[in-house]
């Protein structure tokens, strides 16, 4: 049994609608102003590990692609995070957020405060893209289709509820909201048309949707189980806070 291309795309979009990590209770807490300063810092410290690993994940993908056109399209993902020309890049913008919430940016960049569970989840994602069949690696990376909405929600929620939120500290999310993720995903989908057509067969559809579920699922994102870890995080985040801002 074979799905049409439209049915297949609708099925993928439904997975995002059902399972993308904007559903996680932590994000509702964060955007609703219910996180303590220490919880926000914990999120900034841990989310940085994801942020910093993404260009390595995308380079791992490119290292397996023998089509220069697909590599060129994919390279813009690395430029988004590492910077290019006048664009300082997402990693630098994330460190501005670290400054704003009272963390020492060198401490954040050192990744010394990252939880083992965060490392486990992020490293598993990078390894997935490095080792799985190319089709699955593409699928696992196209969840940026859903990112603009969560970034818009985040900007709105943080600006409304936290003193640290301003144009400078929100620059990461503002850039991601307006970045070319959607059009790029279309280009990449087009470059992968052969792969997508092949995967419309029932067996491959299962594989594609499974690997689509992987990164959209909250369990594979460095979302902090914030409530039970508050005490633990207070300790870690306190240690990392600049004295004048704590």
């Amino acid at each position: 049994m074979t799905a049409s291309r439209e049915e297949f795309e609708a099925r993928l979009r439904q997975i995002g609608a059902d399972r993308y990590h904007d559903k996680h209770p932590f994000h509702h807490m964060l955007h609703g102003g219910e996180c303590s300063p220490a919880q926000v810092r914990a999120w900034v410290i841990n989310r940085f590990y994801y942020q910093a690993s993404i260009p390595m994940k995308d380079a791992a993908f490119m290292s397996r692609v023998d089509d220069p056109a697909l590599r060129r399209a994919w390279r813009s993902r690395i430029e988004d995070h590492d910077g290019h020309g006048e664009n300082e890049g997402g990693i630098e913008r994330w460190l501005r957020l670290a400054d704003a919430v009272g963390l020492d940016r060198d401490y954040v960049a050192s990744k010394a405060g990252v939880l083992p569970a965060t490392k486990f989840a992020v490293d598993a994602y990078v390894r997935f893209v490095r080792e799985k069949p190319l089709l699955e690696a593409v699928a696992a990376s196209l969840t940026e289709l859903f990112a603009p909405k969560i970034h818009a929600d985040r900007i709105k929620g943080l600006l409304a509820n936290y003193d640290f939120a301003d144009d400078r500290s929100m620059s990461y999310f503002k850039r991601r909201r307006t970045s070319n993720g959607f059009s790029r995903s279309r280009i990449i989908s087009s470059a992968c048309a052969g792969l997508i057509t092949r995967c419309c067969g029932a067996g491959n559809r299962c594989r594609w949707t499974t690997c689509w579920i992987f990164p959209t699922s909250s369990s594979a994102r460095p979302v902090i189980p914030a409530r039970p870890l508050t005490r633990f995080w207070n300790g870690r985040a306190d240690r990392a806070t600049s004295p004048q801002q704590s």
Copy 2:
């Protein structure tokens, strides 16, 4: 026993002077106008496999680097080959050379005519950079320091000796001769200063110089042992030649 930085650099440069692949008899034949059309085509077909694999090698390296500054410096290598903005990239320029020597560019790009020995050598280089310690992967990639000279020799020799050589078909070598390989290597050397300092110890020096020898050595380059393979290559290259140009 520890070498000074200057002694260490001098030792590295000596390896290039002694062993870089411009010493290979094939290159003397090629630059001296002694290659038959079929031998030139065989070189173009096989060297393309190296050309096409280099961005994958460089992406494999970047996928292991957690320093955004080093990744940014390294990314320009991929841009040189895959293209960026107005720069069409080395892969496209190599295919112009394929056109000029009477090959079907789709055949060259398909890699169907590449010899097993070429694949073996190039794949070994990519695997080396993918799997070896990062220090060795850096060292294995810095032989572009020596590339401007062989490209200058090649432009001069091909223009003097072959009808196919003109500005358009030589664009790959012209770009490589003037590309930023040298200054980039200095940036990367600087970014790797810690690695280089560490490897000035005798044990690591051996390891560094060993992996420097690997890609400079002609045995690890897709240089065709042209004389014994002429008959074989005539067959392959004939099959790949556009009828109107054979």
